[in-house]
Symmetry: C3
Subunit: 263 residues, 3 copies
Amino acid sequence: MDAYPFLEAVREQHPLVHHLTNWVTIYDCAQVVKSFGASPVMAHASEEAADMSGLASALVLNIGTLTRDFIESMKIAAQAANLRNIPVVLDVCGAGATSFRDRKSYELLDSARISIIKGNSSEIARIAGKDVRTRGVDAELVKADLREVAQDLAVKRQCTVVITGSQDIVADSGSCHVVRNGVEMMTHVVGTGCMATSVIGTFVGASPHDIAAAAAAGLSCYEIAAELAAVKSKGPASFKQGLFDCIFSLSKDDVVSRQRIDS
Amino acid sequence: MDAYPFLEAVREQHPLVHHLTNWVTIYDCAQVVKSFGASPVMAHASEEAADMSGLASALVLNIGTLTRDFIESMKIAAQAANLRNIPVVLDVCGAGATSFRDRKSYELLDSARISIIKGNSSEIARIAGKDVRTRGVDAELVKADLREVAQDLAVKRQCTVVITGSQDIVADSGSCHVVRNGVEMMTHVVGTGCMATSVIGTFVGASPHDIAAAAAAGLSCYEIAAELAAVKSKGPASFKQGLFDCIFSLSKDDVVSRQRIDS
Amino acid sequence: MDAYPFLEAVREQHPLVHHLTNWVTIYDCAQVVKSFGASPVMAHASEEAADMSGLASALVLNIGTLTRDFIESMKIAAQAANLRNIPVVLDVCGAGATSFRDRKSYELLDSARISIIKGNSSEIARIAGKDVRTRGVDAELVKADLREVAQDLAVKRQCTVVITGSQDIVADSGSCHVVRNGVEMMTHVVGTGCMATSVIGTFVGASPHDIAAAAAAGLSCYEIAAELAAVKSKGPASFKQGLFDCIFSLSKDDVVSRQRIDS
């Protein structure tokens, strides 16, 4: 598959991406969407969650700093998104760390159709029902396992599953893309995982009829920008600045020459 | 009018600017105030909103990530600010996107004296009662219309109205300033609009007896710094970093030679 | 004392540092922890606050944007931390500005064992029962007073007390370290105080048996990175970027040659 046409679709359509996300990385989630040429909007009041999703091309949910009320607003937004058939991306950030997170993740999955479940390997393993404990770092599961975990969960929940890591797995019931772009410095920056979710929301918002391919393309473009930024960075903060700048000016040649997606 | 004396007043008085603002750009709102030499404080609990406004030189309200409770705290803070006669600036961020936002904006306007209503053209048009729909981008209203919209609303609400855009309009019942500084890159950075509101709060906090002129001066200084930052930037993130740095070291010569305010 | 072994302990143990902190600087608090090689986690829901503290090596509480509910979650987290004997650091951010802040600070101090109380001179003076008024800037107390204030409060509350400023005082009932690193530019950046608290949490998380020395070492390392960053910065934003980068690559030689701690 070619990632570039999906980037072009984002830049032509400027999709509005509605977020209910965490308070830690909320700015960066908004800025990554804007840097790709799309429009972020963050609105979580239960009174307007449905109306805002009614204007959007995609909905991104991230439970990083969840509360009970926040999850209720997420359900309202997701149900409104379902009515309009726009994609809903759920980042199960921190699943496996506390039973509250696990329970609320399941509640969300049961209360609306989620198009994409996204997490790192331990988070997704937990949502898939494996007995793992999240501690901010990936559990040590072998690569072969991860594809299987992703595809099993995709079938069970009738959705696309994304597991991010040194290689990203994007699986639905019938296909599996592996994205091999990215750099180690991303692991030293708070929010690179949350931003990946917002990027997925942006790309599927512009290409809702090809969810898995759009997600893989988004991850590849984002991580290509990271590769370009890493060359000139001196540490995590200059790297993050370069990441936004490189996303903003990402060229066709950058994407075509660097994309590493195995399908 | 000359903008520089208003900047000098900020740097001499270090006004304390109390914010009840959104969770997306809250850091940048605080940092822009501090970069100008003033002091930001963010405090939204209903139990202390009045006390904190009691210490401040200006109050900034921004409904970007509003909730019902948050609006109640804003009313308390605004009424406390009114008692002390300090300026209150309201950013009607996202007005027109949902009826909840519109309703809560009107509630705020009806519950306290607001010194300045600030928004982009579609937000202000909505608050003025026009039938527009906000989608994060400015509605296409012609320039002549905007002045009229601003001045009509200023008369109706007995306040100053600021419409930001490629040209900023600052209107009260008797005057209209147009600020022509700024660069296109600002539109690619999340939070430049929210920061503009915090800058206005900072400048009117130091010069409360000349609200419209102080607001125009603040916008001009902020956007001159943006012009200087744009020269060396490679994208939205390096631009934003340069913006704070340039605000911090903005000189009299920068302001005098570059200000473009038509009164 | 030597600061470097404490930095090594952080980099070897990667302590998980649980935060309940303010919405303004939450990202920077997380990133400073990560830049030192540790793992931040931010989780404030009352339903999971105890579970998350159950996974952590230290707990950081910061009342910057406190609400009643948030303080209740802090109590739950602090009591869970007490059960596991992990250090609890409390930043009494803004104490003295409103009676609500003072009251809630006392409530926290009375509801759990706090290992370290941290603030600037006026905040700590207020918590110690002095009649001062906080306005974001340090009250003018002479240096001799500050040591006494810190040690008296340390004895009264049976904890370590940290007063940050151009010199940082780290006092418990039996000892007093004075850290003389740092640069003036730190005062122009929003969040340098909050980050200092997160750094203290990180260092005491890795060295919980020597709280005061670990806190002093953390402050020294953080401020040495600030000294290195200041050399190349052009203003507050490039300085902050350099600060994270310099923390990430801080070398033994940097620390050994620059540390200025009087014990």
